[in-house]
């Protein structure tokens, strides 16, 4: 179990380096997809049930899909992958930095890597994460309303930003 957590954490780092090292957005979006899939796995390994599902559905299935088709706006004939020289230099620099940080801060870690910490000691159907999200609907009702209003506001913000012709964020188009 701790080996699985170790592998998933390593893949999170790899995805993060792959996104930050300035490849073409097609490949950066792929790195982010891998990161979110593996992040879901990490949350499952630490005992969550609802939060990783939300992560997969909303983040990966909602936001990443939109980023993936928005990558058509940054189309170029020869996209830079991770084999390109300038991208490889960034990758090398980030891997070096991350390796040094891990060696310095985590070099003597010989302890617990990961596993499910639980208080009840038995298999339950409704786990902690789901109860917490239920609390958002119960005592956190006003925050939910505020979030909904914020999303509605964002809709109007987006519509005004891409409005052309007479007013908005576009010049003369």
């Amino acid at each position: 179990m701790s080996y699985l957590v170790c592998v998933l954490l390593f893949r999170l780092m790899v995805g993060s380096v792959g996104v930050a090292s300035n490849p073409s957005p097609y490949f950066a979006a792929m790195g982010l997809v891998m990161e979110s899939g593996v992040g879901c796995g990490v949350l499952i390994c630490f005992g969550g049930s609802f939060l990783p599902l939300v992560f997969f559905l909303i983040y990966l299935g909602g936001m990443m899909v939109v980023f993936a088709f928005s990558a058509a706006l940054s189309a170029e004939p020869y996209p830079y992958g991770w084999g390109n020289r300038s991208v490889k230099m960034y990758v090398a620099a980030y891997v070096l930095g991350v390796g040094c940080a891990w060696k310095v801060l985590l070099g003597k870690w010989s302890g617990f890597w990961g596993g499910i910490l639980d208080e009840s000691g038995e298999l339950l159907v409704l786990r902690g994460g789901m109860m917490g999200v239920a609390a958002m609907h119960d005592v956190g009702g006003w925050m939910l309303v505020l979030g909904g209003l914020g999303l509605l506001l964002t809709l109007f913000v987006v519509l005004e930003l891409v409005r052309g012709v007479s007013r908005g964020g576009l010049r003369t188009v």
Partner: protein, 98 residues
């Protein structure tokens, strides 16, 4: 520092460095911002799961909602940039440069 804390801290810092340094496309800056949001979601979810403070599990949900707002605003800006300048290259956004 525990390995999982080290992981999401490093992910946040890598995304921040990727957002800050020179890049070609506006969309790759937005993707680095998304990786920062991912690390924050992981951090707050693991807080709720590992410390068994169950009420904190509302924080990642609301964080995801507001991060969706921010991502959609960023993509609207990307569309506006692509429609005025023809591409989303960062070097074209130089009207305020002296």
């Amino acid at each position: 520092m525990t390995p999982i804390q080290m992981t999401f801290s490093t992910m946040f810092l890598l995304g921040l460095m990727g957002l800050t340094f020179h890049r070609t496309h506006l969309l790759s800056a937005l993707l680095c911002l998304e990786s920062m949001m991912l690390s924050l979601f992981l951090a707050t979810s693991l807080w709720a799961l590992q410390l068994s403070t169950i009420n904190i599990a509302t924080v990642p949900m609301l964080l995801l909602a507001f991060s969706a707002c921010e991502a959609s605003s960023g993509l609207a800006l990307l569309v506006a940039t692509a429609r005025t300048h023809g591409s989303d290259h960062m070097q074209n956004l130089n009207l305020l440069q002296c």
